[in-house]
Symmetry: C2
Subunit: 120 residues, 2 copies
Amino acid sequence: MKDLVSRCPIEEVMQVLSGRWPTLLIYYLKDGTKRFSDLRRDNPTVSHRILTLELRKLEKAGIVRRTVFDGYPLRVEYDLTPSGLTLLPLVDALGDWWEARDARRPAPQMKTAAEAAAVS
Amino acid sequence: MKDLVSRCPIEEVMQVLSGRWPTLLIYYLKDGTKRFSDLRRDNPTVSHRILTLELRKLEKAGIVRRTVFDGYPLRVEYDLTPSGLTLLPLVDALGDWWEARDARRPAPQMKTAAEAAAVS
DNA sequence: TGTAAATTACGCACATTTTTGTCACCACGC
DNA sequence: GCGTGGTGACAAAAATGTGCGTAATTTACA
């Protein structure tokens, strides 16, 4: 998703929120200020490069604030901006919608993991 | 985003909604039933292959319903499921949030396009 | 007391993986 | 041959990962 194809705000938000990490990072920052290494621990599968890139993207979007303290063993803190805080309930709502939808779905469904296993 | 790294519903929704097209398609289907070719016209930059793939993904997620009519010039219709309809306001809310955030942002900001142009 | 090693939060170059696009092709009836 | 709604093979592009280097200071150890 390098560039936009419409002037639609929906496409613009998705440009920022698309992918696995942005929403998860927002979710983890819900608890308050975190350091870079905290976020890595929260999600061990993200590479440090991608984590920095995603955080910068969120910063540019005005969702996350990055604070650098100079000193001994370098220290950078991340937290949600006021704007980011207003986004939080929307992201949560999507999660809730997904769960509710799961409950709503007709019976003959399988979890994706089970499906994958079954195909083998 | 081939597979999940957490059991978090947020990650699961994003697996479906990530990318440029899913939310835009949902948005276009807001107006009601559309045919495949209508959706292509709504968004001329999506390749037909991706359009089918995205629609199938949304179908599997229970957001979109696909109806095939057999007859002369083949005919397939797409519309939102009840579940998809409940998702709609959430997607709209994201768009609204983005616009509101734009208004909220401090003055010395540039549009990304302008930035890109300026760098050259 | 001197020296090596670890820590933190990255940036950079390169490699791999994943996603997306292109093009050709199919069946159907007109 | 046209338009409809696709599918499949292959290619290009984009996203993501890997491993190394860096700064300043602290700690480990002899």
